[in-house]
């Protein structure tokens, strides 16, 4: 229990530090919400007036703490460019990015585990070598490039889907899911390649352990030995990677959302940075940071779940 309290406090401190750094970054980069709203033709005086009206002329620390105080009271502020409460804006976008991440993660797991098992079972066979070559290539290709390639092949040449034809989840959830499949494939492919590589080598090194010989001595087939004994032990390094992958997908979906024209968190983050709309940027970045921290915690819990030796501590 004490461990979790300590973890919770350190997570909170991390989030505070992140929020301060984002605030400070906006202090350093040129321009603010007032000048970006009025555009480049505005006079110095009118910008100053708006700045005063928006409260942007107050000292940096005062602004930070008044924003922070708002957060603690559950008020994430109002967007400068959309004039809407930030919380509502973000909440509306979360399902999009989260669905995209879940789809990508499910794809990664569903494809990589069987492929790694096969690759390990037939290690150094022609199949294994083909998988290896494919992996080396796909690990190196960035998701946004795969996205562009897929948009061209499936959208423009084969016409399987309409590029930019995003459907809101509120309107038609089925069509929404359908539109997200290709983007999630683009996100999943490099992660999947890396997962196969990690899991294959973990399985092969586990396969030399004594308990594997014991399992064979009981008359288990190779697949039974791999599934019932080796897989659980070999999953440890992969779980760490998957934890990082989820965080990476939430943050990394920014570019893929752009390629497929999906109005998720990535889109809102980019426009808000351009508008110097710091309440929105703060909220999105804190959300991403919180996901990273939660994934770390989840990985920790899963480790304990899988390896009984860690539970005693």
């Amino acid at each position: 229990m004490k461990v979790y309290l300590r973890k919770a406090i350190s997570m909170l401190l991390t989030l505070l530090a992140v929020s301060f750094i984002v605030f400070a970054a906006f202090e350093i980069i040129p321009g603010d919400a007032a000048s970006s709203r009025l555009g480049s033709n505005a006079t110095q005086a009118s910008v100053e007036a708006l700045r005063h009206e928006m409260g942007l002329d107050r000292p940096f620390l005062l602004r930070y703490f008044s924003w922070l105080g708002g957060c603690f009271r559950g008020n994430l502020g109002t967007s400068y460019s959309y004039h809407m409460p930030v919380a509502g804006m973000i909440l509306e976008k979360i399902p999009i990015t989260v669905t995209l991440t879940i789809l990508s993660m499910l794809l990664t797991m569903a494809v990589s585990v069987p492929l790694a098992l096969l690759s390990a079972k037939y290690a150094n066979s022609r199949l294994d070598r083909a998988v290896y070559a494919g992996n080396q290539f796909l690990m190196a290709v960035p998701s946004f490039f795969l996205g562009i390639l897929m948009t061209w092949v499936f959208g423009m040449v084969l016409r399987w889907f309409k590029p930019g034809g995003y459907v809101s989840y509120k309107k038609d959830f089925g069509a929404f899911l359908g539109y997200l499949i290709l983007p999630s494939v683009a996100i999943a492919i490099p992660k999947c390649a890396m997962s196969v590589k990690l899991l294959r080598s973990a399985i092969l090194s586990e396969a030399n352990r004594d308990y594997v010989r014991t399992a064979y001595s009981r008359g288990l087939s190779t697949m039974e030995v791999l599934y019932r004994h080796v897989l659980k032990n070999a999953l440890m390094p992969l779980i760490t990677f998957w934890g990082m992958a989820v965080a990476d997908m939430i943050a990394g979906s920014i570019v893929v959302e752009q390629v497929f024209n999906i109005p998720g968190l990535g889109r809102i983050l980019l426009t808000s940075i351009a508008n110097r709309d710091y309440p929105v940027v703060e909220a999105v970045i804190l959300l991403i940071a919180a996901v990273v921290l939660l994934m770390n915690l989840l990985v920790d819990l899963l480790y304990r779940r899988i390896d009984p030796r860690l539970r005693a501590e």
Partner: protein, 262 residues
């Protein structure tokens, strides 16, 4: 005759030149008998044991001769038929009880695993009951608690008892014990030897007991094989070998026993 090994040999082909590890080993083992194999390290004892248990690597080695178990050659049997024997008729325990169990699986599931494979007619409750009675047979205190434990919660001696319970769960005809006490301290060693003798009497299981320790071999075996450099040096009744060794190698081995009586 339960087991008959005829002119058995192994040649490794995993390096540039073929390497001969075992050659011309012939012996037999009767049902219910305890046969000891003794020899210095590297003499081919483990390879012979693994061959009988069907656990030799499948690639890069050549197997010679025949190993007949109940008349069937385990060296050339197809994998499926071999798996029918493994864990059901032929079981094996190993030198390292610390690593021989799966660290992430409960003891109970590992003990009853052979039942899951070979006795599909048994349901979970029947398997559990059988596993608990096997854990009690190997004299583990509180079988229920051991059943729920993970390997790291048990001592080396307890883990070796668990390995024996898991081996005996299907009522095998042959138990191969490859240096089962080498990694354990002396008092635990003596207990395990007594346990194996008890199991041999009660369950009528034949035991192939492998050790480099002559005093253990003398204590437990009915008959003995002496191996050196992958070859059989001599074999015979325990008392005969220990009182009247024929070969120089055996005499040397015997003279190296420290003269301390326990």
């Amino acid at each position: 005759m339960l087991l008959e090994c005829k002119d058995f040999g192994i040649e490794f082909h995993d390096h540039d030149r073929p390497e001969r590890a075992v050659e011309g080993v012939s012996f037999s083992l009767d049902a219910g008998e305890i046969l000891g194999i003794v020899g210095e390290s590297g003499s081919g004892k483990s390879l012979t044991a693994l061959a009988i248990a069907g656990l030799l690597p499948r690639k890069k080695l050549k197997k010679e001769g025949e190993i007949l178990f109940d008349g069937q050659d385990v060296l050339r049997m197809d994998r499926k038929a071999l798996r029918e024997l493994q864990g059901d008729e032929i079981c094996m325990i190993f030198q390292e009880p610390m690593t021989a169990l799966n660290p992430t699986m409960r003891i109970g599931l590992q003990v009853e695993e052979a039942l899951r494979i070979h006795h599909r007619e048994m349901d979970a409750a029947a398997r559990r009951e059988r596993a608990l009675s096997c854990l009690a047979d190997v004299e583990l205190p509180d079988p229920e608690q051991v059943y729920e434990s993970y390997p790291h919660q048990l001592s080396g001696g307890m883990r070796q008892r668990v390995m024996i319970a898991a081996a005996m769960v299907g009522g095998p005809q042959l138990l191969i014990a490859d240096e089962p006490t080498t990694a354990l301290d002396v008092t635990v060693q003596a207990q395990i030897i007594k346990l194996l003798q008890k199991i041999n009497r009660k369950e009528k299981v034949a035991i192939l007991f492998i050790s480099h320790d002559l005093s253990l071999i003398r204590q437990i075996s009915h008959r003995v094989l002496v191996m050196q450099n992958g070859r059989l040096v001599e074999q015979g009744e325990v008392e005969e070998i220990f009182e009247h060794p024929c070969k120089d190698y055996t005499k040397q081995l015997l003279s190296a026993i420290p003269r301390v009586e326990l």
